[in-house]
Symmetry: C2
């Protein structure tokens, strides 16, 4: 197989194509597989992405740098890069993995990307692999918002509301389906200011809360500032109406109590 198209997409030509061949070889295929290269590539990728973020974001602290980096080197991001490189067709897998669709599996794709980076480091050294990584990540880095990238939905929702001085979301388990080892949690996320109540399922309480928070965010984020103010106002009015109703109910009961 010719590597020309892949090398073009990587913007890199191997001096020793056997290294690329090895990087594309899963352990199910043969003994000369890519796992050691993946170890090396994981290291260089983590470092180069750290250095790229360090240069680009001069004013964010190391906690934010770590969070953003984690989101850029995680398996799903690497699997996306593998798709862009059209790696599937180049992978060398054992028969079992082939039949079970291993060439589409995110872990196998992500590992192969790392292994290719390790192979480039061995092939032509640090500066070569730094340039390849910078090229692969150019668009992703342009889109990074260090305030939000890599944060989970619950954190983003909380920060969104806090930034507008609004009441925090409330999470509640509505019900739990299934038996001990295979439970499904149904959770409600309520945002009082916007009168939003959204339910979601998950295999853990936390997972269900994250899904619900994400769906709430999908409703909140597209809102225009005017919308937000209107819905804040509607929420406040509703709360006041509820308080009034509650007061009347209590007052009514008290009056009944007195009349007895």
């Amino acid at each position: 197989m010719s590597f020309a198209a892949l090398e073009r997409r990587l913007n890199y030509t191997f001096a020793n194509p056997a290294l690329l061949q090895q990087a594309l070889t899963h352990r199910s295929h043969s003994a000369r597989h890519n796992e050691r290269l993946e170890f090396l590539g994981d290291g260089v990728l983590n470092f180069v992405v750290a250095a790229l973020l360090y240069e680009r974001f001069q004013n964010i602290d190391e906690g934010d740098l770590s969070r953003v980096r984690a989101s850029l080197v995680k398996q799903s991001t690497l699997a996306d890069i593998a798709q862009r490189l059209d790696l599937s067709g180049y992978l060398r897998l054992g028969e079992g993995e082939l039949k079970s669709g291993g060439f589409r599996r995110p872990s196998i794709l992500a590992d192969a990307v790392e292994a290719i980076l390790g192979a480039i480091y061995l092939d032509q050294g640090f500066e070569a692999v730094r340039q390849v990584i910078a090229g692969l990540y150019r668009e992703l880095l342009d889109k990074v918002d260090p305030d939000t990238q890599g944060k989970d939905a619950k954190t983003l929702l909380q920060e969104w509301l806090q930034g507008r001085h609004l009441e925090l979301p409330q999470y509640q388990v509505v019900c739990i389906h299934g038996v001990a080892h295979d439970q499904q949690f149904e959770v409600e996320c309520a945002v009082p200011a916007f009168d939003i109540h959204i339910r979601a399922n998950g295999s853990s309480r936390r997972a269900a809360e994250q899904t619900a928070a994400g769906q709430v965010l999908e409703q909140l984020l597209p809102l225009s500032p005017v919308d937000i103010k209107r819905r804040q106002a509607a929420g406040k009015a509703r709360q006041q109406a509820e308080r009034l109703a509650q007061f009347k109910a209590t007052h009514g009961r008290a009056a009944q109590g007195e009349s007895r």
Copy 2:
């Protein structure tokens, strides 16, 4: 303060000594502190140690490479390197940290080592910092035994016994002192083949087991092959004697049972 002695120990001279100054500045001292440099240095250290191990150990798999690397970049190893560099006297700490002995704290020392490596990368690039790291780790790498480095005491003890086809150690909680949030566990580790029974304490069951296993290893590792054979034989004889006694007791009881 002159950095000459420190630079000599690092075998590196900064083009821009302000970077070294910043690397030695704890966040308690001033706003231009070392935490971002530490983020960068952590990345380059992890990668360079990975690359050094990859080159040196051609035949170990990525799992072992990861384990050995983790032991070489962990806080206590970095704090040892800081001691060798005599970093304490150069650290710039806030008053509170100074008074509480921050210049001796392993986390502060380890972070400063990483920050210095980040500073060297910014100062003169990858090849410069690679050489400094290779120099700092030369002796440590010469001593690495990839079969054992970074393994915990329980794992080492188990492997030592398995390698000699001996019965595995048995762990038992002897007693638990203290109340819920502040418990001390006393655990016994027994190695039947050597008739060893060692007790140790720890703030968790796991910690106590590790300490006990470590003390058992301290008894086993110095043994000569002859000693080992003799103690294996003694252990076997003891086991046989116990089985015989048990048989007699059962037989005795059975006889008594029959005679009733």
